[in-house]
Amino acid sequence: MNCNAVQLKLTAYIDGELSGFEMIQVRSHLSDCASCSAEADAVRQVKWFVNNLPQNDPGEEFKDRLKSKVFAASVSRKSFSSAPLAMISTAAFVAALFCGLSYIRSTRLAQPPTTSVAPIAGDSHGNFELARDQAYASGTDPLGGAVLLTADAH
């Protein structure tokens, strides 16, 4: 294995990500090549610097603040997403109400109109029949028929 090939594999070698056979090949080359061995040390050094960056603890207050923001965002998203559904439900209810009222109204309008009774001669219910008979008896009733009542029978 030449130096170019080894240097391409150095990162994976140092991270333990090579197959067993490749590891052996690279290790064997490094033991004989000062240049590649120095390069491997440099890669290890950079890895060490990053690995040893100071760890910061943001604290409990940070955690509580984070939680409240995360769950508040979740609640506001749910409220927002249910708004269209509420609007649709309300619109459906109003439409149903409107249709119901229209149906009731149209049903009432379809009923046959109450016929108004033409005023009949006579000033009260009781006198109506008498007036009718009198009209018949005098021959002024155009409908004809037997005399049912006379003024004396009353």
Binding site: L8, L10, T11, A12, D15, E17, A38, E39, D41, A42, V43, Q45, V46, K47, F49, V50, N51, L53, P54, Q55, N56, D57, P58, F62, K63, L66, K67, K69, V70, F71, A73, S74, R77
Partner: protein, 199 residues
């Protein structure tokens, strides 16, 4: 009555999910914060990134496979959120200049040079230098190096987090460490002169 029972059941299920997520957040927020800090370079942006990450994680919690490590799944979300943020701020410069690099690829690495001196610095001197050097790296390379060297993830795990292949992960880490070395030598040659870097 049936509706009432269904409502109670749904509420109980939501509470359980929330409790489970809270437990995972309690265990993961410290390392997640540190990763966010290394990715962004300052506390304010780290907090924003972390918040966005956990909001997305909670929103898609139903997709999380509990058999797998939560942090890996979380870091995937963070990696995507970080890239989204960088794109919005115009800090990602993509390039495909036809210039072969040493390992035979034909893409020129263009580092993120937005290492503003106004950024909040870490207290430790060496940590400061390394953090500043990290901020000069190409974002994808920086993410790969941090996941490998800070989080200790295997290449296969990093590939899953970054939604790419193991070969690409290896390449990003290799080139990322080279960028880091170059930057450290430029910044503080007396401190990092022991590094043998003959780029």
């Amino acid at each position: 009555m049936i509706l009432s029972a269904l409502f109670k059941e749904r509420t109980a299920s939501t509470d359980t999910t929330k409790q489970l997520f809270e437990g995972l957040l309690d265990k993961s927020y410290r390392p997640a914060y540190n990763l966010a800090l290394r990715l962004t370079g300052n506390h304010a942006e780290a907090e924003d990134l972390l918040q966005e990450t956990y909001i997305r994680a909670y929103r898609f919690f139903h997709r999380y496979d509990q058999a797998l490590p939560f942090t890996n799944w979380l870091y995937r979300i963070m990696s995507n959120a970080h890239i989204d943020s960088m794109r919005r701020k115009g800090r990602i410069k993509t390039t495909s200049l036809e210039q072969p690099s040493q390992n035979g690829t034909s893409t020129l690495d263009v580092a993120d040079t937005d290492a503003s001196p106004d950024r909040e610095l870490l207290c430790d001197m060496m940590g400061e230098n390394v953090q500043q050097a990290l901020m000069t790296m190409t974002p994808d390379f920086r993410t790969a190096v941090l996941l490998a060297d800070v989080e200790g993830l295997a290449y296969e795990e990093i590939a899953e987090v970054m939604n790419t292949s193991v070969g690409t992960v290896r390449s990003r880490i290799h080139r990322g460490r080279k960028q880091l070395r170059t930057s450290l030598l430029k910044k503080a040659p007396e401190m990092y002169g022991g590094l043998i870097n003959e780029l």
